[in-house]
Each structure stands twice: as structure tokens, then as C-alpha cells.
Amino acid sequence: MSDKSSERRQFITGLGLAGFTGLGAIGALYAAKRSWDPLPSVKSAGFTTIDVSPAKENQLVVEKWRGKPIFILKKSAEMKKDKRDLVIGGANYHISIGLCTHLGCIPSYRPDSHDFLCACHGGEFDASGNVTKSPPPSPLVIPPFKIDGTKLVLGEEGPEYKKLKDAGLTA
Amino acid sequence: MRELKIFAVVAIFSGILYYGVEPFAHGQMHKHVDSNGLVYDGKADIAEASKDKKEAKTKFWAEVAEIAKLKGDVAAGEGGYAMCMGCHMDGIPNMGGVVPPSLEHAGAIYDKNYLIALVKDPAMASNVDHKYADTMMHPMGSVGSMFPTPQSIADVVAYLQAKKAGDVTPKVAYEEACMRCHANRYGKLTHLGTAPVTKSNIMTGYDVEGMKFKQKVAEEQALVAAYMGKLPPDLSIIYRARSHHFLETLIENPQGQLAGTAMPRVGLNQNGMDKVMKYLQETGDPSKPKREALGPWVIGFFVIFTILAYLWKQAHWRDLH
């Protein structure tokens, strides 16, 4: 056998082995990636039901859903209504995930000026969660909800939520 | 020489960097509040008060000053104190939001003016009258009817200062002044004091008595949280989380540091403040005395190390130039 064909054989078998090893590595990488995924117990963290009727006008109520703060703000008559408002029992509510859409700090509510200020990077939102001062790129996020009387079920997509979502108003 | 110049440049830039991110930045972030020297004359309260309350507060603190001038009768005060004991006694449960604190060392840790103001009007004295605008009433609100005259107030305060002024340890000062709202888990203090010693059942591994105490504490916490608006923080390690000056001025006048806070002023005098701060340091920064004892030795070691290293270095570098 010539040297040349021997070299070629070495090259091809080497390539085959390397390729096959690579295949195994991809499999192992997939397993590694899956190990970093959120656990099923985390994903099924459940739904939270919140009764909004005790909320007072212009006073921010903070609840917790999936580890995140949820803002519930009952609007008073003088406060501007918004397409993003939820109407429950005839009153307008602003409901959102209370994390700044910039980098996730919790904005604080200023009842005098009816707006939210995020202390981390100076972002501001109005009482409907719309951005009034950068850097946040988008309004405060409205979590999936279902209205059940005066109660809100978070985590479930009710018809009102779907309507907001289709109109692109949830985020 | 050149090395020293380069060292100076490095040191100056490092120094500027330090100044900018530490003293300067923190000076910008936190407003400075001056202490009133633990004098409780309502000056800050009146200055901060909204227009409609200014007059009432000015009048209130002027009356307190008047009562302070009266000479209290200790014997007459003892009778008044008996009424206090109706609530301020050992083992009393939560009343209207908090457990009435023990007054065993009230004369030793609280200021005279403050005690007078407190008996006269607890909400005004502790500067949390804004909390009781609606239907809620201060849990000690009925005290006014027990001490209707200025002289009766002067008497009971004189009694506290004469008979309830014994030596107090830092821990007891904390228990009397702070513990009804603030647990201290590193000091093993719950809102209801130290947990009793209990044992777990050897066959099940469960400590039923201990669990019962924990439940009682949890129920007490819920009452305190409902009364205060949220559960006041555990103060185990607050000594490292806030500056000494912040804590002292906060305790002296909570509204001055955290406007609108539900925390009442507790009216500590110098002795009470020192004791409470000492306890906070004991639980929050227990290594401070150890650091101060060890520091000079370690630094001294490295000074000598550096001198020896310099001699060694010179021995090698002498012949090089």
C-alpha cells in the first residue's frame, strides 16, 4: 500500500472518530442545557387570587405572584383613565408586574404626582404604567389575569387579558 | 526618586477614586440629619409638622415644659404607677397592636421630658400622630384619663425616675425599649422574648412545645405587622447595615430620617441610647473588639516583615548599579 493511501485512510478514520465524538458532545451539551432549565416545580408555581375590593383610591397595594411584586392601583376620579386599565366593579384599576422594564428594580409610587419612579436608573411611569421618562423601553408589564367578580386570578388568561394582549397593550 | 514619584501618582489616583466612590458618593446619597442632643423639646416635630398641626404641637410641647418645672411627689406617684401596672406587667398579651413594655427600668433609660409628654399624649410624644388620623387610636390612648392633672403626671414621672432607675444591662435595655416590635434573632430574642428551653420527642423528632412557642411568636408578629403596616425589621445585624450616626438619629427622631414612618419615637436618654447601641453592636458586630485587639499585631508583623524584606532586597540589588 502506498504512503499516500495510508495517509488518506488515517485522515478519514480520524475525521470519522472526531465527528462521532462531536455528536456525543452535542448530546452531552443538550443534557447540560436542560439541567439549567427552570424545574417543573418552579414552572407550576401556581396561580394567585387577589381580591381588589379593599384597595383604596390612589394607594398602591403590592401583592406577590411567582416571586414578583404585583402593583394594584385603584384610580381616583381625577386620575387619567387609560386603555390599559382594568375595570372591576365599575372602578378603574392599574394592574402590573411591579418591576421596571429596564433592569427589574421596583419603582416606588408617588401619590402626589400620580406616577412611579424607579430609583435604579431614574425611569418614570405614569399611573397607568406608561413610560414618561427613559431608560425603560416599554410600559410596566400587565400579567396574565382573569377577572372573577372582584377577584383577580393571576397566571390565567381571561377574555379581558386576551383583548389587551391582542391590542398589544400588555407590555 | 523616580519610583517615589510613580508611587505618588498611583497613590493620588487611588485616593481620588476612593474619595469619589465612598465619602463623596455616600454624602450625596444620604441626607445628613443632626442630633438634637437627646433633648426632647418637640423642636423638630414642630418644624416638620404640616400647617394645621403646627399650633397644636407648639402648645403641647409648651405644656410639657411647664409640667417639667413642677416638683413631682414620689410617694404620690406610686399610686399612679399602680394604674400603669394594669397593662405594663409581665406576661401581658398584645394590646391594640403591641405588647405593653416592661417599665422596670423606665427611669433609667427614658428621658424625663419624654416620659411627661408620653403620659400626656402618647401619639404626640412619639411623633406618630399622623397614624391615628382615621379611626385608629393609640393603644395607650386612654392614659390621659388616668393622669388628668399636670401634678399627677409630674408625680408618676418622679416615681419612675426615683424607683425605676436601677442599673440596666444592654440586653434588658433592648428588651424594654425595642423588642416589642423588633426581634433580634442573633441575640435569640423574639417579639415575645427568649424562647423557652424545650426538647424534641425522642421517638418522633418533633419538639411540640417549641413549635407552640413559634406559633405564638408568629401570631404576635402578625398583630405587630398589622398595627405597624409591615413587620418591623429584625435588628440582629442592623449595626453593620446602617451607620452608628444614622441609628442614633433615627432612634432619637424616626420621622427625621424616614419621613412618614410608622416607627414611634421611644425617647431614650443618653444612658438608654448607649445601652441599646451597645446591644446592637454586640449582636451585629461582635468581632469589633477582636478586630481592635488583633489589628495592631498583624499590621506590626507586616511592618517588620517589610523592613526585613527591604534589607534582603538591598543585599541583592546593591551590586546592580
Binding site: 416606588s108 | 510613580i6 458618593a25 499590621i299
Partner: protein
């Protein structure tokens, strides 16, 4: 099988099996260092020593640390700080070490930039050094999560949120396929999964990689040799021959051990005096008070800022909208890697003798310090304006670098 003679001494026995004499020559007695250097050349050894201190103190902290979100805070602040004998010492040493290691890294980096020590065969030294900087940053960040205080939690929240742009269903939370930010966290918010993986990174993966790259960094240094104060191109063979012939005064080089090392040890001594002064008496800058409040996902601290050594790059992302901010942040972290290729001048000389580059160097240094200041101050009013222009200046400097170095006359 190799042929072994009977050894007459332990040294010979070792030499036969491990080549210790050759090793000693290569690494110590005939590892030539230029004589014309100053104390800034000792920073590498200072860094190695600090890393050693971090490893040792970390081992003792690790023995009592509990990576559980409910227990982590007290395991550090109560068990280690109160109960463990000298636990407080390890904790303070670890905290100060983690902060000072960055001060020394920055001094080391700016020394390299000033003296042009990234050119003429020294490109790999610079690249491996920058890789170490990135790894140390990851190590510092992951370590900062472990006490699970307020700053740990919110730093974790803010920094992982940078990746939210890659998240299709963050809002819906349906999580059929986890968004990148949730994949990194293993949860909707930083929680147990998050703490567990950062614990692993901090105590195992990152230190392992750092040790590997430190070896690489030393390796890249051996052939091109370290630079000198004048950027002189030394003939190391000739200079070494002079030294070996006993002409120590005439030779331009010294052996690494013991001559160079003796100076390193002296500088280390001075450094340790500062180090332990900070450990015992002035540690707040490295152990932020806010992190002594336990993590609370429902309450952001009034002021959130990273540790001082991340402030300059944090400030660069701050003035911009989110996606632009992320790009700016990546640019700031990455652009230093490109230095040897953006500097188009063939001159290896201290910046003081390089005209425009000298100005560039000092503006860069001052700009980084200004960015650092602004990164900590509250984002409002004049601080915002200064921060914005300092960030713009940073970009402008790097765009200008190839141009001004091309204009530089060859020396």
C-alpha cells in the same frame, strides 16, 4: 525505558525523574528580567499573592457556607462572623481581597497601557490578561450573590435582566420554552436555582478557569520577556551572558529568582500593610452595608450600585435604552481586548514619549474615574449629563486610537 543511574543525592534523584534543575533554570535562575523596571513590575506577584489569599480565606468560608436562600444570609453573618473562631477574619480578608484584587488589576492594566507592554510579541500577554480580568469579574459577581443580602439579590436581578431582550414570553410566563433570562436564573426571579448555580460557579468552575489562565498568562510571558521602563529592545542572550560572566553592573538583566523576587517581596510587604489596615479598620468600601440587609424580592434598596470596580462599565450602560445599553456594556467590557490591534504605532515606549498617545492615555484614565464616580451617584440631574458625556468620550477615545497612533512618527 529510559536509562536511570543510581542517584547520589535527593536533588539528583528528583532531577532524573522530574528535571527539576532544568525547571529551576527556566523558571528562576535563568528567567531573565530587565533591570530597568520600577515597583509597578511587582503587581503581577501582588496579584498572585492576593489570589492565593482569596483561595485560602475562601476555603474556610466555604466550610460553613450554606447555599440555601433561607439559610445563606445567617450562615455567613451569624455562623461565620459570630461563632466560627476567626471566621470574621476570613470574611474580612476575603472581602478586602476581592476588592483590592481589582485595584491591582487596574493598576497592572494601566501600567501595561502606559508602557506599551502589549506590542512586539507581547500581544498574548495582554489577551490572556484581559481574559483573566473577565474571569475575575465573573468570579467577583458570582461571589457577591452568595451572602444573599439585598445587594446580592438586586445585583443579580439587574444584571441578569440585561438578557431580557432575548425573552419572547417573559410577560406571559407560560414558559413553554424558557426565555434566556429565566434559563440563566432557573426561575422567574433570582431564587434557589439561581443561588445554587452561582455557588457552583464561584467555588469551582471560575477558580478552576482562573488558575488555568494564570498558568497561561505566565506562559505567554516567558518567551517575549517582560517589558522595561524605556521600552528598550533588549538582547536577552547577550545580557544573560554578561550576568553569568559576573558583570552584574554592565548586564541589562537580572534573574527572576532571587534578585527580582527580592524586590517583589518587599513590595508585597508594603501592600500587606495597606491590606490589613483595611481588613481591620476600613472595610465598608468592600463590604457594602446594604448587603447586611437580607434579600427581599419585594423591596428595592433606595440606591442600587455595583461594587466600585464595576461602576465604570455599569455607568456606560446607564444613559442608553436597554438594548443599546447592553451593546454599550459589551463594548466597554470587550474593547480593551482589541488594544494591541487598535494601536497602529510600532513604537514600544512609555506614553510620556509618544505625543498624542500620552494625552489619550491620561484622558482614558480620567474618563474611567469619572465614569466610576457617576456610576455610584444617583441617576439624576447633572450626574446624568456628566455620565452621558463621559460614556460618549469613552467611545470616542477608542475610535480615535487607531487614527492617532497611525499619525505617530516611527522612532
Amino acid at each position: 525505558m529510559a536509562h536511570f543511574k543510581k542517584a547520589n543525592s535527593l536533588n539528583e534523584w528528583m532531577d532524573q525523574r522530574l528535571g527539576v534543575n532544568t525547571l529551576k533554570k527556566v523558571m528562576q535562575s535563568e528567567y531573565w528580567i530587565p533591570k530597568d523596571i520600577n515597583f509597578l513590575w511587582a503587581m503581577g506577584m501582588v496579584l498572585a499573592a492576593t489570589f492565593g489569599i482569596l483561595v485560602v480565606s475562601g476555603i474556610f468560608l466555604l466550610m460553613y457556607y450554606i447555599p440555601d436562600t433561607k439559610l445563606a444570609f445567617d450562615s455567613v453573618n451569624y455562623i461565620t462572623m459570630t461563632e466560627v473562631g476567626y471566621g470574621w477574619l476570613w470574611r474580612h480578608v476575603h472581602g478586602i481581597g476581592a476588592s483590592l484584587v481589582f485595584l491591582i488589576i487596574y493598576i497592572h492594566m494601566f501600567t501595561g497601557i502606559y508602557y506599551g507592554s502589549y506590542k512586539r510579541g507581547r500581544e498574548l500577554i495582554w489577551l490572556s490578561g484581559m481574559l483573566l480580568f473577565v474571569l475575575f469579574s465573573a468570579e467577583a459577581f458570582s461571589g457577591y450573590m452568595l451572602p444573599w443580602g439585598q445587594m446580592s439579590y438586586w445585583a443579580g436581578m439587574v444584571i441578569t435582566n440585561l438578557f431580557e431582550g432575548f425573552s419572547p414570553d417573559f410577560a406571559g410566563g407560560a414558559l413553554n420554552s424558557p426565555a434566556l433570562v429565566e434559563w440563566i436564573r432557573g426561575d422567574y426571579v433570582p431564587d434557589q436555582a439561581f443561588l445554587g448555580r452561582f455557588f457552583m460557579l464561584h467555588v469551582f468552575l471560575m477558580p478552576l478557569m482562573i488558575i488555568g489562565v494564570i498558568v497561561l498568562h505566565f506562559g505567554t510571558l516567558r518567551l517575549p520577556h517582560v517589558n522595561n521602563q524605556e521600552g528598550a529592545d533588549i538582547d536577552f542572550d547577550e545580557a544573560a551572558a554578561l550576568w553569568k560572566a559576573g558583570n552584574k553592573k554592565e548586564s541589562k538583566v537580572i534573574p527572576f529568582s532571587p534578585v527580582f523576587l527580592s524586590k517583589d517581596v518587599f513590595v508585597l510587604g508594603v501592600y500587606f500593610i495597606l491590606f490589613f489596615y483595611l481588613v481591620f479598620y476600613n472595610f465598608s468600601f468592600a463590604m457594602d452595608p446594604v448587603n447586611f440587609d437580607p434579600a427581599d424580592g419585594l423591596k428595592t434598596p433606595a440606591h442600587i450600585y455595583p461594587e466600585w470596580y464595576f461602576l465604570w462599565s455599569y455607568e456606560i450602560l446607564r444613559p442608553f435604552s436597554k438594548d443599546l445599553g447592553l451593546l454599550a456594556f459589551i463594548f466597554a467590557q470587550g474593547i480593551f481586548f482589541a488594544l494591541p490591534f487598535l494601536d497602529r504605532s510600532p513604537n514600544v515606549a512609555p506614553a510620556g514619549r509618544r505625543g498624542l498617545f500620552n494625552i489619550w492615555f491620561w484622558i482614558l484614565l480620567i474618563d474611567c474615574i469619572i465614569l466610576t464616580f457617576m456610576g455610584k451617584l444617583p441617576p439624576e440631574g447633572i450626574w446624568n449629563v456628566i455620565g452621558f458625556w463621559a460614556a460618549i468620550t469613552f467611545f470616542a477615545l477608542w475610535i480615535a486610537l487607531p487614527i492617532i497612533t497611525m499619525l505617530e512618527k516611527k522612532k
